[in-house]
């Protein structure tokens, strides 16, 4: 059981990184990414192919995958936002994501098509014996999640983070204040893309086998669920949201052992109901998600009209 929890913990980690990427692009930057599954596939395939065909080691393959997805995302943002209004951006990402998935499905010479890529190496896979590898994989994933949260936290409190939120709230105001909105958006989407590349690489390392069916549109739904459950714009909240979604999905499998007499095909239906109810409850009782976006809080003045002496309090992000 402990091993299974550890393995699912690893799955939560790369789902969390994917959700963090979406949270940065959409939650903070206001750029809806409906092509997430395609970019995620691009990350996983890039990482796997850099290792299997390019001969890179896992570290450089991961960096390469992050670079490739960041570049593609940046280009999509650059091209799209120059020629269309931002409302069309979501539709374009959907199209690009689908294109990427179709390339993975059809370019047999490169991706082996529907059969998928097998035998994907893992970081330090040869050095660490198999029985303890899952612990290492979890530790590595946790460190990466923590690093992502830290980097994104720093980014969103930096001057650039203020530009990101300003662009989300009203791009005309941001432009009037002399900010380069297009360049900000390209960077937002590319930074998110790098994280998607990282999540994709971890996905490839974990499963050691990737095929196009793993990157269906349900991936997008889960990522949006994680961000909404966690609280749009809140990084730690998003990680918690990803964990909650995964626990709901995998944990509901154990419902069979709590409810005797439930058949497996009935359980399949019950699980979907449980997940639906979970989301509805969340939206009723926590409409803003688990946490709220980072906001600098200014001290309140007391009844005498004097500022309180405490320093400004920062809400957790």
């Amino acid at each position: 059981m402990i091993d299974f929890i550890i393995l699912m913990g690893t799955v939560v980690c790369f789902s969390a990184i994917l959700a963090l990427a979406l949270n940065f692009q959409w939650g903070l930057g206001g750029m809806v990414n409906f092509g997430l599954a395609g970019f995620y596939a691009l990350g996983a395939y890039s990482c796997a192919l850099l290792m299997l065909k390019g001969g890179f080691n896992t570290f450089f393959a991961t960096l390469g995958a992050m670079g490739i997805v960041a570049l593609v995302c940046g280009l999509v943002a650059l091209v799209t936002l120059r020629v269309t209004e931002e409302d069309y951006f979501a539709i374009v990402t959907l199209g690009v994501g689908e294109m990427l998935r179709l390339v993975a499905l059809n370019e047999d010479w490169l991706t082996k098509g529907a059969l998928g890529l097998t035998g994907i190496p893992r970081p330090l896979g040869e050095l660490i014996p198999a029985p303890v590898y899952l612990y290492f994989m979890l530790a590595l994933s946790l460190v990466l999640v923590a690093a992502c949260v830290w980097v994104l936290g720093r980014l969103s409190r930096s001057p650039f983070g203020r530009v990101v939120r300003a662009v989300r709230e009203d791009d005309v105001v941001a432009a009037t204040l002399g900010k380069n909105v297009l360049w900000a958006r390209v960077r937002i989407f590319a930074i998110g893309g790098a994280l998607i590349g990282l999540a994709g690489s971890l996905h490839a390392f974990y499963f050691q086998y990737i095929d196009p069916t793993q990157f269906s549109t349900i991936v997008i739904a889960y990522a949006f669920m994680a961000v909404i459950a966690g609280g749009r714009g809140a990084h730690v909240g998003t990680v918690a949201g990803a964990a909650a979604v995964m626990l709901l999905l995998e944990g509901s499998r154990f419902a069979k052992e709590l409810v005797p007499g439930l058949e497996s095909d009935q359980l399949a239906a019950v699980r979907i109901i449980i997940i639906g109810i979970g989301l509805i409850m969340l939206l009723i009782y926590r409409p803003h998600g688990f946490m709220r976006e980072y906001r600098l809080q200014v001290p309140l003045k007391d009844s005498l009209g004097q500022a309180r002496s405490q320093p400004p309090k920062e809400a957790p992000t």
Partner: protein
């Protein structure tokens, strides 16, 4: 939301985390008892959702029968853990991890589709656990599986051999068009079929691979049927085949159509979706059990089904559990490291041919050699885990009903 605090959030998340994680501990005793757990991953939802429930029923009845007769290894009962693979590779991989790490299964059975089998293959080999799949793609058993991966299905290239032979011998088409779904098990069928057709001097007027889940297949249909071949071979699944046949009917093309039964029959769903007129005259092929074999007749009795019922996949699930039980009994061990080596001895023989699991178990217990004859096939395997001896059926749709034509082996 001024009252919101980190503590409160932690409480909320803590409760969410604790409930599902804690749940299995409540019921852990059964996993540590003397039962032998078998993990069964079946498609209950998703694009192959039609097949899971019957396969699950077959697994349950087989295990019930073995347990009623006293179990295996000196009275230990088999215990099934049936889960929904959602017809998805990543879900199947998570399930395999759950079977191995939570339930301590040494046998993973079911695994209908190729993605499910492919994603669980490395997990089974790494954990030294036997994986028994019902998927067809050749890649499942290629390379070094260390004796842990076993296919209970005809491999894809053999489908191509049987279909091309039937085309040559009884159907007599001079020119053919080929359409195939972009799918890991369809492409090898297409490749072999086309090679054979060309070798026999038949013309392949057009061959194309199409993507799943397209809103329309008009262009594809036009390209293949427009060349007016005698017949078009369409290798796909139910949803795409339904759209394709609607386009063919609308376009008024008169080439004959040949398909796979998982598309053109699918437990009657195809005719229900398109109507008897559109379906009229379509031929379809699918690996099937030898319905005249005593093992299959015995299986029908076990399922309580009428004598003319043709089950495509549930007999394989029955055979997977039967072979696992027999191999465990022969190896005198529930550990896959030991019993995986006994799969060929109990499946291929040498020994007396037996089609009754209980009888076979008794013979193994008394030290005699058996050659188990299953419900879905004769349960003979190549050393790398491919099943041999499973045949393919051919049907033709007449008046909205699939009429059986013939049964052939590769």
């Amino acid at each position: 939301m001024k009252g919101f605090s980190r503590r409160r959030m932690l409480k909320t998340i803590g409760a969410a985390v604790a409930a599902p994680i804690g749940a299995p501990f409540l019921n852990l005793a059964h996993a540590q008892g003397s039962t032998i757990p078998i993990g069964v991953a079946l498609p209950m939802t998703g694009n192959a959702g039609a097949y899971g429930p019957d396969m699950g029923e077959a697994a349950k009845r087989t295990v019930e029968m073995i347990n009623k007769a006293g179990g295996i290894l000196g009275g230990r009962k088999l215990e099934l853990i049936i889960e929904d693979s959602e017809s998805s590779a990543s879900v199947a991989a998570n399930l395999s991890q759950k079977f191995i790490n939570v339930h301590r299964c040494q046998a993973l059975v079911g695994y209908w589709g190729t993605p499910e089998g492919m994603s669980s293959r490395p997990i089974a080999i790494q954990n030294k656990v036997v994986l028994m799949v019902s998927s067809a793609a050749n890649a499942i058993t290629e390379g070094n599986t260390e004796g842990y991966v076993w296919r209970f299905q005809m491999k894809a290239t053999d489908w191509g051999i049987v279909i091309s032979r039937a085309t040559e011998q009884s159907l007599g088409f001079k020119s053919v068009g080929v359409m195939g779904l972009q799918n890991a098990f369809v492409l090898p069928i297409m490749r072999v079929f086309e090679e054979r057709m060309k070798a026999l001097g038949r013309t392949v007027v057009e061959s194309l691979v199409y993507n799943p889940e397209q809103p329309s297949y008009r262009a594809e249909v036009q390209r293949v049927f427009g060349k007016k071949p005698d017949a078009v071979f369409c290798f796909g699944l139910l949803p795409d085949f339904v759209s394709i046949m609607r386009e063919v009917y609308r376009g008024g093309f008169d080439s004959k159509v040949v398909a796979l039964s998982i598309a053109a029959d699918s437990e009657g769903k195809f005719v229900n979706a398109v109507g008897a007129d559109v379906a009229e005259g379509i031929r379809h092929f699918q690996p099937m059990p030898d319905v005249s074999a005593p093992g299959y007749k015995r299986f029908l009795k076990l399922m309580g089904a009428p004598a003319d019922r043709v089950y495509l996949f549930p007999p394989n699930t029955h055979d997977q559990i039967a072979i696992a039980a027999l191999a465990m009994e022969k190896a005198k061990s529930p550990m896959a490291v030991d019993w995986s080596k006994q799969i060929i001895p109990v499946g291929n023989g040498p020994g007396e041919a037996v089609d009754d699991v209980i009888g076979a178990l008794e013979m193994v217990r008394s030290g005699r050699n058996v050659n188990f004859q299953g419900a879905g096939s004769t349960c003979d395997f190549t050393p790398n885990g491919d099943q041999i001896g499973r045949g393919m059926g051919q049907w033709i749709i007449k008046g909205g009903k699939s009429v059986f034509v013939e049964y052939a082996k590769p």
